[in-house]
Symmetry: C2
Subunit: 225 residues, 2 copies
């Protein structure tokens, strides 16, 4: 069985991505990053999601991105917007987050002898984030193939972003078919310890609209609405 490192945040997108990697027959090694995010219940969700899909191993690496500041997700002095999604790059954007997380996935892949990394980025619903676009994913893959011992030895590393061009509706429908238990996932930027969601932040709004559009009942416990 080919090994794959799958970035697993505990949210809806990464849970679906993990299900897709399992479905393709990969032996999955899930990697979660504790980057100082407000919503720590996301990490608890990641563990449950991983267990529910029979992954080979789950590791969580801590790295304090809040020391660098600059995002509402790590800096408590910046409020999470709850007034609805807007255009442009939102304050919930964490500087270079995907680059940092993919770098760690790359490190683990090299240690494991894996040549496949999965990430659940999505260019459609989060088009405000620069590191969720196809040209970025392509450039990271290219860099990876020059960065490691494994790649220098001729093994091509593949960076899979299977949700890149799917709508939230399509992601949820696909995940349902693959048996993802979305009740285990947490999307909210300010989820409480039990995993209940605010119902007002961008992540909640996008999630809720996705379930509605997919005509699938949303198992999330929202505090508002």
């Amino acid at each position: 069985m080919r090994k794959a490192v799958v970035l697993l945040s505990g949210g809806l997108d990464s849970a679906t991505t993990l299900a897709m990697a399992c479905d393709k027959g990969f032996a999955c090694y899930a990697l979660s990053i504790d980057y100082g995010q407000r919503h720590q219940s996301e990490l608890a969700a990641a563990r449950k999601v991983g267990q529910s899909m029979g992954i080979k191993m789950h590791r969580t690496i801590s790295i304090d991105l809040s020391a660098l500041g600059g995002s509402a997700l790590t800096d408590r002095s910046i409020a999470v917007p709850t007034g609805g999604t807007t255009t442009g790059i939102p304050v919930t954007y964490v500087p270079a987050r995907n680059t940092v997380m993919l770098s760690l996935a790359l490190a683990w892949a090299e240690v494991l002898g894996s040549h496949d990394i999965f990430i659940g980025v999505n260019a459609i619903d989060y088009s405000g984030y620069p590191d969720c676009r196809p040209d970025y994913i392509e450039a990271f893959e290219k860099m990876s193939n020059l960065a490691t011992k494994t790649a220098r030895e001729g093994n091509k590393l593949m960076l899979h972003a299977p949700l890149l061009n799917l709508s939230k509706k399509e992601i949820i429908s696909l995940g349902k078919e693959l048996g993802v238990d979305y009740a285990l996932t947490v999307s909210c930027y300010q989820a409480d310890e039990s995993g209940s969601a605010c119902g007002l932040c961008d992540a909640c709004r996008i999630r809720r609209a996705g379930f509605l559009a997919a005509d699938i009942s949303d198992p999330t416990r929202y505090r508002v609405g």
Copy 2:
């Protein structure tokens, strides 16, 4: 003054790189990464080196790469070789280390509004490390320019690797001219708490040979030789 983020390990190469960035007139923000390396005295050295050059700010980010294993520098079950440098990729190679460190530098640069990152990689003396080569540096810069909000807004990010094609002899001579106090730096992979060096690992051998070739007295306290 243009701001630059400079990766500062506390070793000879990064100290010289910092001196070069200061000399070019950048306001320097030094970033050290505690990645679980054996040689923690390297981090103490980084603080002293930064202070000696009047940098604007120094941050150390902790990230436990030893959780992923795979390198003699982070995994205590793998011995640091002391028998002399050999060809091929050495066991002291830390998987994706430069990629992880550069990602964090990128994140901080974005928060600071800096468009310049300096790293002291060197393709000649460490040709065994895949992530110390010109094509890797170029690919990382290209990826960076697709990864961030700053870059998407049209600011070109530049990744400077001024030591890339210099020999250790040239690096030391250049640093001396710029006033680097090499007594503050630590290169040894198994330096003790006081910063004294084993004299036998690859880093010690390369450092010692560099000072000899440059005909400059080596201020390092070696335990052997």
